[in-house]
């Protein structure tokens, strides 16, 4: 069920952070929680993370892989599909664009400078 809005509508913060945490390679659910917290200080609960992952899987942006060989206890690994990577890049571009807006630059000195 590919999402029509992909690349156009803004992503929810939870989804964005889940996708972002998977950008460097596959992770299990708890890894996503840790990564999101390390990257942005955002604490996502297990419900949010797995709920998002399931939705993303439905949308075809994330693939559920095998169990983590290093740490089977943590469960299955999730990785980005190419559609997912495109959606993430689109969102990143959108945010960058936003940060270049004249108004934003005036609000936050130092932001948006190339």
């Amino acid at each position: 069920m590919p999402d029509r809005d992909a690349g156009t509508a803004p992503l929810t913060p939870a989804v964005f952070h889940v996708l972002l945490s998977l950008a460097d390679g596959p992770l299990h659910g708890y890894g996503v929680m840790k990564r999101a917290e390390e990257d942005s200080g955002l604490v996502l609960g297990p419900g949010t993370v797995y709920g998002s992952l399931q939705r993303l899987e439905d949308a075809g942006w994330v693939r559920v892989g095998r169990e983590d060989r290093a740490d089977a206890r943590r469960g299955r690994l999730f990785e980005l599909t190419s559609a997912g990577r495109r959606a993430l890049e689109a969102e990143a571009r959108r945010i960058t664009r936003l940060s270049h807006l004249e108004g934003v630059r005036r609000l936050v000195p130092g932001s948006g400078t190339p």
């Binding site: 609960g45 949010t48 992952l53 942006w61």
Partner: protein
């Protein structure tokens, strides 16, 4: 144990239960997600918990749950992209709230509640701390009550074991129709002799069924057989596990071995006892005389029995009374045997103390709760906007009420956990001291005093009730006061209905009332403790050590031989560097209550009756100076007062005045009369010999039970017993232990087979006698102080809040030129009305409490006007301050600052 370490340990212990709980909460998520990822979600939560607990202990634990709860109460992740409805969380929350049902909605409310609890951490901390303290006190005191009064004695079907009073002539062998088994015993001191050295242990002569009544089996060997109680049977014994380990090195072949001991049964020579069994270490008996048990070989009146299941208690009482009448002639017409459950009989002396303490801590908890409700009410008034908003967005009244209930439960739950932890710590620290001060061994041993499941259940129940009432009261008020248009500036203090104000005032008034009553009770107890402390003893206990010396009849058959030994020992002891003075006495003050004897003074010329009661003690020369009892007139006993010389006595001043009113006791004669107490023959059946009074000493306080009844002192060489106490005052700087060692050495030089036993310090005995009253005074004082602080806090909070609500009002008045004092006065009046109401009710409550305490008061009437008056005045004064301060503050605020607010 640092609090942090405790928190971390608590948190680690809670990790696994948390995950189990979380798994159940997963039901909140759609089945598809749960089926696919449920296990992994629980795993992730587990990992989160472990990591956070490792990093931040209890705080980490709570934050992990915070994450999970937010997650659970929050929307399920929808489509990956944002939609309009989802961005306006508040509205959406309201809509979902309105439609929410069952567990899901309830959890959502839990999430809201959690959020609001966290939003105001200082408020939450104060509330939880106050409640936790109240709960800790209750849990600790309830544990004590539980250990003594509620938990059955450590025997199977303990409720069927009853004590027979008064003791009759009915033998334990005659009652098989009434009791399944019946026992009797005779306490004795067994002096074990042999290679291991002499050792005095406490033991009992018991009927063969003794252990069976209590449902106890031997841990090694067996219990007694009926034929072993036959008069001609060989002596057998069971020994305690302690004795087996300490004296016999836990020898595995102990059963069948023998030991020799002197007893008061056959004091003339050591007898050999064959050991048939070992008493289990956990056997507990109402008296501690269980190191050696041996079958009693004479008829004995029944003391304790296990009721037959088919015989109800009244029937048993009637049957025993009948038996007693047929056994003993001429019993009074109203004679009636009473059977009391053994536990009630054993704990009768501590029951009043414990009841008072439990009552006091319940009052404290009640005060703490009303305090918390007052604080919550004050806050809920501030939160009207938030709750109103939720309601306007579609949340039903039920949902808002449920959120408040959840808040209450979170608060009381946290307080409960903290309170139980604090109570456990408190019990650990005070267990032994508490038992000593209550003066009764805890049934089942010291470890039996703990937070057992029933205490934890009771605490959990209390928490649930408290938590729900926290939620319900503000919820009701909020719903009742709903008619006020919402969002129209409640924060500025308008639109608050009258009922919340009244409820707050009523709660604070009742807090003040309860505190007043509690303080009055505490005041009475403190004053009786002071009275006991100041009560003149009549002797100087400082540095006085005493111990018992028991002589064997066989070695010292002749009184003069006994006197010779005692005097030789005294000579040696007096010559020691660390002893200032020493003397012999048949008993010492404050070492057990001695019943006063009936005494008769010889009529001097006229026919005054001349009878009185006084305690009789035999003492040797130097006793009065050793204890610092002033000799008022006449002479002390001396070396010439011997067995053959004229019998002499010394009377205390008070006794002399009662025996010979208005006459000089010196030269008069006095004798003891046969005891007539309680219908039981005590001591000799005929009067003692006439003795001439040769001296008068001051009265002393012999024990706190009798007060100063007056004492008759006899010269001990004229009736030298086998059991005497040696009293020695140590020199300043010398230690009691060194004196004891010296006496032991001196005694060993005279006769190596005599132990110097039951040594103790007189000062300690006096302190121990005062301890129960002191304990209650201290505890009640502490509880009352805590209650006072709480009610002042409540009072302050309410007045401050009322003042704050009306600060615009005040500011305008003051800006328009009103006098600061008149504005202060406005609040003062309202506040003082509440205080006066509280104190007035409290004084009445205090008078009732005084009546309840009457049995424990010493030297002060329960309605003592000074105590009650002082408490009332003190409370009025401090409470007035608690009212005046915030009122003053409010009227002092700069008008323009206030008007610019909001």
């Amino acid at each position: 144990m640092s609090p942090r370490g405790l928190g971390t340990r608590l948190a680690s212990a809670l990790v696994v239960p948390s995950v189990v709980l979380y798994r159940r909460l997963l039901l909140r998520f759609p089945a598809r997600l749960r089926r696919r990822f449920g296990g992994e979600m629980a795993g992730a939560f587990h990992a989160l918990l472990e990591e956070r607990v490792a990093r931040r202990g209890l705080r980490g634990f709570l934050s992990a749950w915070g994450v999970a709860l937010r997650d659970l109460s929050h929307p399920l992740p929808g489509r990956p992209v944002q939609d309009r409805a989802r961005r306006t969380g508040g509205v959406d929350a309201g809509r979902r709230s309105a439609g929410g049902r069952g567990l899901r909605a309830s959890l959502e409310d839990l999430g809201f509640a959690w959020g609001s609890v966290r939003r105001d951490p200082r408020f939450t901390a104060l509330l939880v701390a106050v409640l936790a303290l109240g709960l800790a006190l209750n849990a600790a005191v309830f544990s004590v009550v539980n250990a003594y009064l509620l938990r059955p004695l450590p025997y199977p079907e303990a409720d069927r074991i009853v004590e027979v009073r008064p003791v009759t002539d009915v033998s334990w062998t005659q009652v098989a129709d009434i009791f399944e088994r019946a026992v009797s015993w005779d306490l004795d001191v067994f002096t074990l002799v042999g290679e291991e050295g002499p050792e005095m242990v406490r033991g009992s002569w018991v009927t063969p069924d003794f252990l069976d009544v209590y449902g106890v089996r031997a841990s090694l060997g067996r219990t007694f057989r009926p034929e072993e109680a036959d008069p001609g049977a060989a002596l057998v014994a069971m020994i305690s596990e302690r004795l087996w380990r300490e004296r016999f090195g836990a020898a595995p072949d102990i059963v069948g071995r023998s030991f020799s001991a002197y007893t008061s049964d056959r004091p003339d020579h050591a007898e050999s006892f064959r050991i048939v069994g070992v008493i289990p270490a956990d056997f507990w008996h109402v008296n501690a005389y269980t190191d050696v048990l041996s079958p009693i070989r004479v008829e004995r009146a029944v003391y304790v029995g296990r009721l037959r299941p088919d015989v109800p208690l009244p029937a048993a009482e009637a049957a025993l009374t009948e038996l007693a009448r047929s056994t003993t002639a001429q019993l009074p017409a109203d004679f009636q045997v009473r059977l009391t459950p053994l536990q009630d009989a054993y704990t009768a002396s501590v029951r009043p103390t414990l009841t008072v303490l439990q009552g006091a801590v319940l009052l404290v908890l009640l005060i703490a709760c009303s305090n918390a409700i007052v604080l919550l009410l004050v806050r809920s008034a501030r939160r009207r906007r938030e709750l109103g908003m939720r309601q306007a967005l579609g949340a039903t009244a039920l949902r808002v009420g449920r959120q408040l209930a959840w808040e209450g439960l979170i608060l009381s739950g946290a307080a409960g956990v903290l309170g139980l932890a604090a109570a456990a710590l408190l019990l650990d620290l005070t267990r032994a001291g508490l038992q000593a001060r209550l003066g009764r061994a805890i049934p089942g041993g010291l470890e039996a005093l703990s937070l057992d499941p029933s205490v934890v259940m009771a605490a959990a129940g209390a928490c649930a009730v408290i938590g729900l009432s926290f939620g319900l009261v503000p919820a009701l008020l909020f719903l009742v006061g709903r008619g006020v248009p919402l969002g129209t500036g409640d924060a500025r203090g308008r639109g608050e209905g009258r009922s919340p104000r009244r409820l707050r005032a009523a709660l604070v008034a009742s807090e003040v009332a309860l505190s007043t009553a509690l303080l009055a009770g505490a005041g009475l107890m403190v004053r009786s403790a002071v009275h006991l402390h100041r009560m003149p003893l009549g002797f100087d206990a400082t540095g006085v050590i005493h111990g018992s010396i028991g002589l064997r009849h066989a070695s010292y058959p002749d009184p003069s031989m006994r006197v010779l030994l005692y005097e030789s020992l005294l000579d040696r002891v007096r010559g020691m560097g660390d002893v200032e003075a020493a003397a012999m006495a048949s008993s010492t003050p404050f070492s057990g209550i001695i019943r006063p004897d009936a005494l008769e003074g010889e009529r001097v010329r006229d026919a005054s009756d001349g009878r009185a009661r006084g305690t009789v003690t035999s003492v040797g020369a130097g006793f009065f100076s050793a204890l610092g009892i002033p000799l008022l007139r006449g002479r002390d006993f001396g070396p010439d007062d011997t067995e053959g010389s004229e019998p002499v006595a010394i009377v205390s001043r008070g006794l002399g005045e009662r025996l010979w009113p208005g006459r000089d006791p010196l030269g008069a004669r006095v004798r003891t009369l046969p005891g007539t107490d309680g219908g039981m023959a005590m001591g000799d059946a005929s009067p003692g010999p006439w003795r001439t009074v040769v001296g008068i000493v001051d009265d002393i306080t012999r024990d706190l039970g009798n007060g100063s009844d007056g004492q008759l002192w006899l010269a001990y060489p004229q009736q030298a017993g086998y059991w005497m106490s040696l009293v020695a005052r140590r020199r300043p700087g010398a230690s009691s232990a060194s004196v004891v060692t010296s006496v032991e050495r001196a005694l060993a030089e005279l006769d190596p087979d005599i132990p110097f036993s039951a040594t103790s310090e007189l000062e300690r005995n006096v302190a121990a006698a005062r301890a129960p009253t002191r304990l209650v005074a201290w505890l009640l004082g502490g509880f009352a102080g805590f209650a006072l602080v709480l009610s002042l806090l409540g009072l302050y909070g309410v007045v401050a809040y009322a003042a704050r609500q009306r600060r615009r009002d005040i500011a305008i008045r003051i800006a328009l030129g009103a006098d600061v004092d008149s504005v202060t006065g406005l609040f003062l009046r309202n506040g003082l009305l509440v205080v006066a109401l509280g104190v007035g009710t409290g004084v009445i409550g205090g008078l009732f409490l005084g009546q309840a305490l009457a049995g424990q008061l010493r030297g002060i009437p329960p309605g003592d006007p000074f105590t009650h008056g002082a408490v009332a005045a003190g409370l009025l004064l401090t409470a007035a301050c608690a009212v005046w301060l915030p009122a003053r503050q409010a009227s002092r605020a700069a008008p323009m600052t206030v008007l610019r607010e909001d």
